[in-house]
Amino acid sequence: MTSAITAPRFDPWRTHAVRVARKTPEVPGVFTCDLAIQEATVASTYRFAPGQFNMLYIPGLGEIAISICDDPQSRGSVAHTIRIAGNVTHALSELAVGSTLGLRGPFGVGWPIDEYRGRDLVLVAGGIGLAPLRPLICHLLAHRQEFGEIHLIMGAREPSGLLYSAEYSAWQDGGLNVYPTVDRGDDSWPGHIGMVTAILDRLPLCRPAETVMMSCGPETMMWYAAQIAIDRGVRPESVYVSLERNMNCAIGLCGHCQFGPQFLCKDGPIFSYNRVASIMKVADL
């Protein structure tokens, strides 16, 4: 026969039954859902890399890509921070603890953290963009000695929009410099007001050429953060952005999430700025 037959491989459509183990409200319109994989053999072997995502599935409504926000070392359940945006996320927000749904994953390429041991790191997050950075933060805290300076700049619209704000002091104590900032402050907010770019502008960078920036948030924010980092001497190949497009199959076979020569689900969602800079500002690509 004329074919490229190979040994049976894992079925990319295989969907695991998971149960809602815990639901935690986060900032307005955002909640975290801890999902426990039902099948014991799958649960015990399930691992993910910081920055990867799962497809969460509500039968009859559909699937949605949600980045994993859990500590990669945690076992038993997998946490997803979800913003209520459409049908599926709305239905997810209404699921009671104990409900079942489906999960496929993990998918995507994570933050390239192993390549950057010994470097200084600047993490730039905007809004719910902190969610896919949280597993990375957990990893960095657990391996703090392996890295130089670590800065986290976190932007939100207003103070009530600062995701995981209860954890910032623990992160700070664990050796991260945490800089929360908001677009709109008031007298009850003693912290910083202004875009993440304003903080990035004046962030002390001792060795920019040895510094790595990883960002996740609105594309416009990431673009200007990248410009500033590069202006300040960070190498373009050491700047990473996490992009967003419509994902449908998560395995690079449906075409939905194409962005130039990449399928975000399979080749990303995390890219070095170098790889996407030339097309990030092409409208409607």
Binding site: I64, I66, T89, G126, P269
Partner: protein, 183 residues
């Protein structure tokens, strides 16, 4: 610089005018100015010139630096600490819109226009500023066109960064753009 875990009220504001300011010998002032981001691209000679119009101001938290609508002579380069800028809207009170930090320029109206302040500036924490007399800087720039060009070019750069930042803030990125990654 981070405000993690700290929630102090900022309603008590004292005014620095006059006695809390201190002067410093010129070489030290120059050293501090050179260490700021504002000094990037300015020559040592030019910076020394600027310092002749300057003095050091050290403020404790919650002190008023200048008030919107007032006319001030001095412009400030922040050496350390933070200054919160706010505008007053009748019925809403002082609405803060920006926190300026080390290397930032505040009160720049004194350098390029009549010195009427377009914001109220209050220190957030212990803050050290290099205060430069706007009037004397304008005179300097008029006499030494080379310095004038370089200084105003630098001010334009700083203001363009501020403009970009403000624009991004105004675009309301976190509200309009759904930032749930990969969904």
């Amino acid at each position: 610089m981070s405000n993690v875990g700290r929630k102090q009220p900022v309603s008590i504001v004292t005014v620095y005018k006059g006695n809390t300011a201190m002067t410093m010998d010129q070489p030290n002032l120059l050293k501090m100015l050179c260490a700021t981001r504002f000094a990037e691209g300015l020559s040592h000679e030019h910076l020394a010139c600027l310092c002749r119009a300057g003095r050091l101001v050290r403020l404790s938290p919650n002190q008023l630096l200048f008030r919107e609508g007032d006319t001030e002579d001095e412009v400030f380069v922040i050496s350390s600490g933070h200054v919160r800028l706010a505008m007053n809207i009748p019925g809403r009170g002082d609405v803060p819109f920006l926190t300026a930090g080390p290397g930032d320029l505040v009160g720049w109206s004194g350098l390029i226009s009549d010195g009427r302040m377009t914001a109220t500036a209050t220190t957030v924490d212990e803050t050290t500023l290099i205060a430069l007399s706007g009037k004397r800087l304008q005179e300097l720039c008029n006499c030494e066109k080379d310095l004038g060009y370089v200084l105003l070019r630098r001010v334009a750069q700083v203001l363009s960064q501020r403009l970009l930042s403000t624009r991004l803030q105004m675009l309301d990125l976190f509200e309009k753009e759904q930032t749930q990654k990969v969904s």
